[in-house]
């Protein structure tokens, strides 16, 4: 019995070592348009629906925004205050943490997903919950946003002679968003004093449907390029075009991949748009178990680490988002942690 278990474990480890390592997009500056992984089929390039004959991906991701701002406050004291059970201490600790949030900023996000691909067909459902802050110089208010996304897609892949591969895919995306009305310090206080009174919060809903169309060209010598038309809505006016050029190489247990690209290049009007559109990333894989990534997305750096063992993947990424009324005025950092079941 013990020998059988050991054999199964060795077999799984071997499979794990032979399989490709997935990387999170955030740690690599969102530069994964040429990564050719089903992990990015529904988020970045629909052509990757064909990256694997069969795949199952169940990620759970948490993102904490403005990490250095939160840690910059009296973090330990505030956590103690929140845990104290004393209404006044809890309220003041929450306010202190919220001090570094101004205007509309994301506070905390949780995302759960379930997606699969099978012979060029794919479907996925994603649920997102997000706490968002609003307002600035006066009493802070925030809202909870919830989103359900239902995706389905098709993909085709042609392996040609001389190392060329062409893949194309299409994903239809239906999003149903719900947002609570804005709540402020008063609502938090009311909730602490009398939880049922906080149940009056109203909801606003929003439904959207769009298509993404993606292509992927694998060229000789490890080069590849991708071209994605994103968010093609009913009127077609909001569509954006992303493109990227990448390279992959490996030596022994090490692998390196690089990518540079332009997001939304069809709507670039000036140099600031260009700054926001440029992204680039690299990842260094050490066996297929571990990879480290770095990138630049819209002028902000990002770092990531991904660990894959058997069919489980754990990833962490640290990156920045800009919330300024003018690009560059208000960057805030984000820490993202993902745990996923990934079979491909």
């Amino acid at each position: 019995m013990r020998r059988s278990a050991a054999c199964i474990l060795i077999l799984l480890l071997t499979c794990s070592l032979l399989a490709g390592t997935g990387i999170t997009a955030q740690g690599r500056g969102q530069a994964v348009l040429t990564d050719d992984s089903v992990r990015h089929a529904f988020t970045h390039n629909p052509a990757f629906i064909t990256s694997s004959d069969f795949s199952l991906h169940i990620p759970i991701q948490t993102r904490v925004h403005n990490v250095t701002g939160i840690l910059g406050s009296d973090f330990t004291g505030n956590i103690k205050g929140i845990m104290s059970g004393d209404a006044r201490r809890m309220a003041t600790s929450i306010l202190d943490i919220l001090r570094s949030f101004n205007g509309r900023m994301d506070l905390l996000e949780v995302e759960e997903g379930l997606s699969f691909t099978l012979k060029g067909l794919g479907a996925g459902v994603f649920l997102r919950q997000k706490a968002v802050t609003y307002d600035g110089s006066l009493g802070m208010r925030f809202a909870l946003e919830m989103e359900a996304e239902l995706d389905w897609g098709l993909g085709w892949r042609w392996d040609l002679d001389n190392g060329y591969t062409i893949a194309a895919g299409l994903v239809n995306r239906t999003r149903i968003g719900l947002r609570t009305s804005l709540v402020g310090v008063d609502t938090v206080v009311d909730f602490l004093l009398d939880p049922p009174s906080a149940l009056d919060i109203s909801l606003e809903e929003d439904i959207a449907n769009s298509f993404d169309i993606g292509t992927y060209f694998c060229l000789p010598y490890g080069f590849s390029t991708s071209f994605v038309v994103r968010d093609i809505g009913p009127d077609g006016n909001t569509a954006t075009i992303d493109t990227a050029f990448g390279w992959k190489g490996s030596l022994s247990i090490l692998s390196l991949s690089l990518e540079a690209g332009l997001k939304g290049w069809s709507s670039i009007r000036d140099e600031v748009d260009l700054m926001k559109s440029l992204d680039a990333g690299l990842s260094l894989g050490i066996t297929s178990l571990l990879s480290i990534s770095a990138g630049i997305d819209g002028g902000y750096p990002s770092f990531g680490i991904d660990l894959e063992l058997l069919c489980f993947a754990i990833s962490a990424a640290w990156y920045w988002q800009d919330y300024g009324v003018v690009y560059g005025l208000a960057p805030r950092d984000v820490l993202s942690i993902e745990i996923a079941l990934l079979i491909d």
């Binding site: 006044r88 306010l95 402020g184 206080v189 009311d190 004093l193 690009y327």
Partner: protein, 268 residues
Amino acid sequence: MRKTAIPLILSIIVLFASCGDPNIYSHMGYDPAGRPLPVETVRAGKGEDFNLLSLISGYDGNIRLIYKEVDGNYDLLRSLSEEGRIRLVQTVDYLSRYGDLSSYLAGPLDDDTLDACKDTIAFVNSIIDGIEGNVTKILDGLEETGMDVAVVRQAIDSLFEEFGALNRLDPETVEDLISIQLVEDTLVSCIEMFYIILLDIPGDIAEYTWNQFSSDGAWTTDDMLSSISRNAGRLVQTLLDAIADIDQVSSRIPSFVSLDEIVDEVLQ
């Protein structure tokens, strides 16, 4: 592989080094504060916004400057040059994000702006003196007279009148508008502080919410005083504790305190 590993490590080091100001273009000379802004002004509906001025960054990339419907504000905003409007928006944005004028005043200011700031600061100080006096009266009234509702009532009435008077002021310059906004922030911080302090008071005061307070007349002085008078002893102690440790009570009071010092230092 070694040839690729070296640039990789160097890239990571450069990326980490840029974390002080994470935007790499800022290190290459890009100055976001110097950018022109697509600004549109929007008049806030009655009771819609507590601010005299506030900003919303629209999804279309335009900045919406929301202002309260007061004739003086409207006339002033309408007469502003594009440059003046951009400066106003940037300042309000900065204030709303960082809560004080330190960086704004620490930046390069021309003589005209500095002169305007001197007038503004005198204007702010006169209002702040009044507010501080009123807050002190409330505290003194509670501490010295204990339950003397008449004293407390008069002080709180004055405080709220001061607040109402701010929106009736007739600003003549952009700096006046900014000053009024600053003082409003400070006043609301005081009120926010009171609200938090009132958490300790059980009973019907908890029924009054921020929104009720901010809408006209919902939270009257009588309502507040009736609760205070029933809980005055506890309130006095809580207020005194809070004032002694004010940093932990309000997020914006420290900015208000530092504003005075910073402004004095800059103008000396």
